[in-house]
């Protein structure tokens, strides 16, 4: 393990006291390293925001990122959304049928999709498909000195590489979320109505009763935070990639893991905050089956 600080050098090299000092030193180092990494990340985000407002990126740098984040991600988001909708129908149907409430299935599936699964699923797909790719691409640029070359030619790498990716994720994740919501609804409808023979009219009637504009807003609002977090985490990992193929691979993996953790943590915090907003606006709110 790491060496103890100098002030402890007089301590005996073995025994419980020495091990305890090492243990404290290791934890101290971990805390300091974590604080340094968090501070570094915050500064990275700050610089990206400053560049976003000081000089808008050129369209030639925006379009490829918009295409990669938006157009290329649509099929996979649509496909996974469809399956999630059907899975919800499969899992929910037998529980609801025992209570004779199978026509309420539409409300539960669609509310779950719009409020939670649609945004989280679209964000997870974005983190896996686009975030890792961004980290690997920027990481390769870092280790082959292409990022240094950009800076040496007077282009700011954050303005040139990070801001367009951030904008693409921020502006297009709501679109992907709407696609995930829509295809999930279609999948849920197809399985419930076409396969499980739930009454179509009541399926949609209950959906309309359950899902409000606020739910749709809440899902899309959350997705903006997810998209921002994915872009920033992935770009940061790429920019701070260590040398070699192993470093690039590690950056790609880390970008997905940290993005996924961030998505879930943000989902929880924003869920609590949005519920508080909902009950402030609608004090009598709260849905019942």
């Amino acid at each position: 393990m790491s060496a103890s600080p100098k002030i402890f050098e007089d301590f005996p090299s073995d025994g419980w006291l020495s091990r305890f000092v090492d243990w404290i030193a290791d934890w101290g180092k971990l805390v300091l390293d974590t604080l340094e990494a968090v501070g570094d990340f915050v500064l990275f985000v700050y610089r990206a925001v400053i560049w976003l407002f000081s000089r808008f990126p050129k369209m030639e740098t925006l379009w490829p990122n918009f295409y990669s984040v938006g157009v290329s991600s649509l099929p996979v988001v649509a496909l996974t959304g469809t399956f999630i909708g059907m899975v919800l129908a499969v899992q929910g149907y037998f529980q609801f049928r025992q209570l004779g409430l199978e026509t309420r299935l539409g409300g539960v599936i669609n509310l779950t999709l719009v409020r939670e699964l649609g945004p989280v699923l679209a964000a997870t797909m974005l983190a896996g498909r686009v975030g890792s790719s961004m980290a690997a691409e920027l990481g390769t640029m870092r280790v082959t000195e292409q990022i240094d070359a950009l800076a040496a030619m007077g282009a700011n790498p954050i303005q040139y590489l990070v801001v367009p990716r951030f904008l693409a994720c921020l502006l297009l994740i709501p679109v992907l979320t709407i696609m995930a919501d829509y295809m999930g609804m279609m999948g849920g409808y197809f399985y419930s109505v076409q396969i499980l023979s739930v009454d179509s009219h009541h399926y949609w009637y209950n959906s309309a009763q359950f899902v409000t504009n606020f739910d749709l807003f809440a899902g899309l609002f959350k997705s903006l935070f997810f998209g921002s977090a994915i872009a920033m985490i992935s770009c940061y990992q790429g920019f701070h990639c260590s040398a070699g193929a192993e470093g690039v691979g590690r950056a790609a993996t880390a970008s997905f893991v940290y993005s996924f953790v961030a998505i879930l943590a943000l989902d929880l915090m924003l869920g609590i905050a949005l519920d508080a907003v909902y009950f402030t606006i609608y004090p009598e709110g709260g849905r019942t089956l």
């Binding site: 292409q146 240094d148 070359a149 040496a152 007077g154 282009a155 954050i158 040139y160």
Partner: protein, 275 residues
């Protein structure tokens, strides 16, 4: 007053003052002082890992010093904002060791990049300058449509040189421009560097460990020695003088490098293996 006046008139274009750089607690450069007057061609010589490239990247603000300052034309680089530094870097050209061409762009886009990024140039002007610079480094126009991966190492280095020259910079920094090239291509690159200097007033800093380049190209040679092999109070610059006097230098470390002798290093390896 008179001395101050003379000093201000001869103010160097690039000045490094008491520069120290550490990475993760490990010192790479220690108390480096270096003045480079405008128009000088300087070679930074030294064995791998002695901090030559780190020093050069510090000259353009790509690496921040742990201590000390880098002053370019009277401006302390590390007090400038991102925007100010970006503008200042337009006065530099940087030839990277492996060219650092952008993979996703064609050679034409790579060459045009600095102009598109900053200059108010028309498409016709860009095409004209790109063709001219490409011709200067002896490459045919057919490479313009190709991607960097389709070119040989020597061609990539020449494209890197053409890209560094495209904005007519005041200072050109070359990071190991001949490493990994065959003797003929090494001579081509050396000649291109000499020709660039003759073409107009330019200050050049060349990082290399190729003695051929160090003898033929510069006005001045500065040799760095790795910190790990120095005593705490020994200076890291072990030679600073004209290239013609390198062979007469009596410093054992300089002689060993110039003559390419393993000497004590071989004994260390044997000792390590036996240990």
């Amino acid at each position: 007053m008179m001395i101050e006046s003379i000093l201000s008139q001869e103010q160097p274009l690039v000045e490094v003052r008491d520069l120290s750089i550490e990475f993760y607690g490990q010192t790479v450069l220690r108390d480096i002082n270096l003045s480079i007057p405008a128009g000088q061609t300087l070679v930074l010589l030294g064995e791998s890992g002695c901090g030559k490239t780190v020093l050069m990247k510090t000259l353009i603000g790509l690496i921040k010093p742990t201590r000390g300052r880098v002053i370019f034309d009277g401006l302390d680089l590390h007090t400038l904002s991102d925007q100010e530094l970006s503008r200042l870097r337009l006065r530099f050209g940087f030839v990277f060791q492996n060219a650092a061409l952008f993979d996703s762009m064609s050679i034409a886009q790579n060459l045009a990049f600095p102009m598109r990024q900053h200059g108010d140039f028309s498409t016709a002007q860009i095409q004209e300058l790109v063709s001219a610079r490409l011709a200067e480094v002896g490459l045919p126009k057919t490479v313009l449509r190709k991607k960097p991966a389709e070119l040989s190492g020597g061609m990539r280095k020449r494209v890197g040189l053409a890209r560094a020259l495209i904005m007519n910079p005041e200072v050109i920094l070359y990071d190991e421009p001949t490493t990994g090239l065959d003797p003929i291509m090494t001579d081509v690159i050396n000649q291109l560097i000499i020709r660039t200097r003759r073409r107009g007033p330019v200050t050049s800093v060349i990082v290399t460990h190729a003695m051929e380049t160090a003898r033929r190209v510069p006005d001045r040679v500065v040799m760095l020695y790795p910190i790990s092999r120095l005593d705490p109070h020994e200076p890291q610059i072990v030679y600073d003088g004209p290239p013609g006097e390198l062979d007469q230098c009596r410093d054992r470390r300089v002689r060993q490098f110039v003559n390419g002798e393993a000497g004590q290093r071989l004994m260390e390896l044997v000792g390590d293996n036996e240990g």
